[in-house]
Amino acid sequence: MSILIDKNTKVITQGITGATGLFHAQGARDYGTRMVGGVTPGKGGTKVDGFPIFNTVEDAVKETGATASVIYVPPIGSADAIMEAVDAGIELVICITEGVPVLDMVKVRKYMDGRNCRLIGPNCPGVITPGECKIGIMPGYIHKPGPVGVVSRSGTLTYEAVWQLTSRNIGQSTCVGIGGDPVNGTSHLDVLKMFEADPKTKAVIMIGEIGGNAEEEAAAYVRDHMAKPVAAFIAGATAPAGKRMGHAGAIISGGKGDAASKKAFLAECGISVAESPAEMADALLKIWTP
């Protein structure tokens, strides 16, 4: 087992005829992911590089039995694409697109209430279960199958953590990039709960950022309910207050959400906090032996 995706997961790509969508659909297929087709309205019935294309997600699900969808649709249509996937009964929707209006996401979250679907993202690198299934834009080869779960808001910083693990010959169970937007589908806490319940995951690295209180919420869960060891890094210790650091979520306001207070709280909750981003794997190895 792993979380969210494994070798049996069938995946469709929404926005497959765009350059980005096709490039990453090919990359995922090369990795071994069961990429069963794509959706582009108006191009149903055709094929692109061997991928069958459908006009609607409903058609794609009916024909391919896909249970997961990855979205590369531009921001203006991202919210609609997510809701179409939810409506078609897709169980896991991963939205890679960056720049989705926040009020669109507020509506999407409301639309998803009470439905059996999990959304990852938007503005995220995706999800990978190494050796089995890669959905998203991460470079597959830096990963290695193994026992460590990784969850992060950031793309390249996740690669950094994964690379530190792989270089020490430690593999990963599943790596989840939840995205840097203020309103998204899945939180650090949601992913920690899944890792705690997953027998294959033995330890976790959580990467957070300044702004909001999602890391604190996750840390309280680690303290109260989690048996598995957790290490963490919080990016943004040097970020000036009030400035948006690339990710819309990463703003310190009114002295809340700064790196120092987050790190202190995480440490109080029994999490091994890395002082430097070069020490994420080492911080985990301080409290856990593979």
Binding site: F23, P75, I76, G99, P101, V102, L103, D104, M105, V106, K107, R109, K110, P125, I137, M138, P139, Y141, I142, S152, S154, G155, T156, L157, T158, Y159, E160, W163, G180, P182, V183, I207, E209, I210, G212, N213, A214, F233, A235, G236, A237, T238, A239, P240, G242, K243, M245, G246, H247, A248, G249, A250, G254, G255, A259, E275, S276, P277, A278, E279
Partner: protein
Amino acid sequence: MNIHEYQAKAILRNFGVPVPDGHVVYNSNLARDWARRLGDGPWAVKAQIHAGGRGKGGGVKIAKTADEVRQYAKNMFGMTLITHQTGPEGKTVKRVLVENASNIADEFYVSFLVDRVTDRVTLMVSAEGGMDIEEVAAKTPEKIFFEVVDPVVGLTAFQARKVAFKLGLAMPQVKQAVSLFLNLYKAFVEADCSLLEINPMILTAEGDLLCIDAKINLDDNALFRHLRIRDLRDYDEEDPMEIEASQYDLSYIALDGNIGCMVNGAGLAMATMDIIKHTGGEPANFLDVGGGATIERVTEAFKIILSDDKVKGILVNIFGGIMKCDVIATGIIEAARQVGVSIPLVVRLEGTNVEKGRQLLAESGLNIVSAEGMADAAAKIVKAVNG
């Protein structure tokens, strides 16, 4: 994106929210002329900068005569206002708002924002108007009232009524408040705001509610569907280098240190700044070159970093996911040649085709120090800069 108070008030006026009559001016004679046109006074003369706390710095004055309006405006134009939100360098006043002043009987705080905990738009009010709301939240959180808005139904009249009564308003004012809050919510949603703050909303001596200050932050991601609002951007309020960077889709923020950074990805860029500091150096900037680090973008990034005289060395940290390292290396070499980088340059590359990338850097003939891993990269650049 931030906009000025007078622009925010113009948007609110269009949605039927009561705001004082007023006009923005660019010189003091016009300030006097507009004051006369607006009425018999008194008038409020308000410096327009993208920061709160203007009153304490002399950026808000009440004038009793039109000549006083002119005098206050004259004092404000060109003045550097330093408030708790401007940073120590302050902001220069180039626009002044002249508007009719009111007799204030009571003050309230009203705002709408996107709450990250509930993933909903939230209405927040307090009877502690005119105060710094973060201070109220820290000291007396029981004096702040919330209503979470259902995005399908929108703000309802009963929710508006509930908080209006909590503010201690009498029935005639509760009715006004309901209409005012509903219109504010409509403005918030239709303009795609991320924050709409009225501080204060006042009760006038005549018994009317009026929004005498207004702050709007707009969601940058939604500007594509608000072209007229996008045009309200005031470039004078922004760092010229940040504007330059944004034209090349680079996300850049200037800091005080002397080590320039060029990184792909916001999280890794923040972490790179952190590790420089952790290693004993000071980062000069945040710079995210994004996923597609083309030669043009890397060249522009170098130019922007080097335009900061404080920069004594540059650290490039790229984890190539989508991008191949040999392509990035070619970009760095080409850009370094074009721009003529003469200060220490440490490059850390990781990811697809990394060996090829490192080889290209080594064979370039340029004085580029190659690093393996973030710790090594930080140590090398800090040593090169600090000696």
